[in-house]
Amino acid sequence: MSDTAESPTESPPKEEPPKEEPAPPAEESATSEDKKKIDVLLKAVGDTPIMKTKKWAVERGRTVQSLSQFISRFLKLDATEQLFIYVNQSFAPSPDQDVGILFDCFGSDGKLVLHYCKSQAWG
């Protein structure tokens, strides 16, 4: 599975974290299954900014919360803004849910489509 940029004119090289990067701290619970990657397609809803790169290879074991934090940082949301993520155009997944499981249940055409929307944060 590779990262794919949206632009049709580019053929980006397959992007993976560089091998010389220090290995992340080993988690006892992380299995090799968790490390496998699935393709996620991110779609903006409403007037939420659209991500330049929409398609990502994400480790199965990554949580929705982790992905949400990543998108929020990528979009440079501030502390007053909250990101909502929706699956299957019908519900919000739990922040603790593994994206791999979501892919298994709701993936189609080899990818998991997630819609995201920014709004005013609770609080």
Binding site: P24, F91, G123
Partner: protein, 254 residues
């Protein structure tokens, strides 16, 4: 209450009529029974008015050491160091990622911060889903107890909000989680204020309508608010085929 969609074509209800609320609750209940998810319908004697109820145990990691001091001395508050806030800040600093890939070190649970096991506590939660006539939306009421039967304080509840929903919520949640008298039982409960419901329901109702996908308003609403307070909705609710193809929310194209 109806709102124009951004295209200005069809009118979409972001709220739910009480009758539809009841219908959605009954469907949720049917699925809950199939899934053994523990919801029950409680009605007020001699009336149609009622609510969905569920009790569950929840393992909570309190986020603030100041709250921990209130809870008691049985735990080692000295070793309960890093709250989620620091954890997130550390992740942000480490994540000097290249723009087109998710790096392994962007993780909120990398084990960078050691949270003492003592800071976790198992609590008993009771969740009620009621209908709010003033907002025309469902409302989540809940109460929480330690296993010894001590009721949580409001500060403890605020500190146990899922960190996904921001430091801001944990620090100044006055507009979100408050103590309220239960409208039907008259007992003190905590409540997630319904004022943001339209805002987070709007995108998903729009998406569902565009895809002609039937949505159970109450179930979808619950999938958003539940996780704030430890109530996750099992995925099976959304993978099972709905029992009837009729519209379950008020989304009606003109």
């Amino acid at each position: 209450m109806t709102q124009e969609s951004t295209e200005g074509e069809a009118v979409m209800d972001l709220c739910v009529q009480e009758e539809t609320f009841h219908h959605c609750c009954q469907l949720l209940l049917q699925q809950s029974e199939q899934l053994r998810d523990g919801w029950s319908w409680e009605s007020v004697q001699g009336s149609q008015v009622g609510y969905l109820k569920k009790t569950a145990l929840r393992s909570v990691d309190f986020n603030s050491s100041s709250v921990w001091d209130q809870v008691g001395s049985s735990s080692d508050s000295g070793s309960h160091t890093v709250c989620r806030q620091q954890q997130q800040e550390k992740s942000a600093l480490v994540a000097s990622y290249d723009s087109d890939s998710i790096k392994e070190d962007i993780a909120d649970d990398d084990g960078v911060c050691a949270v003492s096991k003592d800071s976790r506590e198992v609590l008993q939660y009771e969740y009620h889903i009621l209908y709010s006539c003033s907002y025309s939306t469902p409302v989540l009421y809940f109460r929480a107890f330690t296993l010894e039967g001590r009721s949580l304080s409001l500060e403890e509840v605020w500190s146990s909000v899922h960190p996904n929903f921001g430091i801001r919520l944990q620090n100044s949640p006055l507009n979100t989680i408050t103590q309220q008298e239960h409208p039907l039982l008259g007992q003190p409960f905590f409540m997630i204020h319904p004022c943001k419901t339209e805002e987070f329901m709007r995108p998903v109702l729009q998406l569902a309508r565009d895809q002609h996908r039937p949505v159970n308003y109450v179930l979808t609403w619950l999938s958003v608010v539940g996780p704030l307070v430890g109530l996750d909705v099992p995925l099976m609710y959304f993978t099972l085929l709905l029992p009837s193809p009729s519209l379950l929310s008020n989304t009606k194209p003109n």
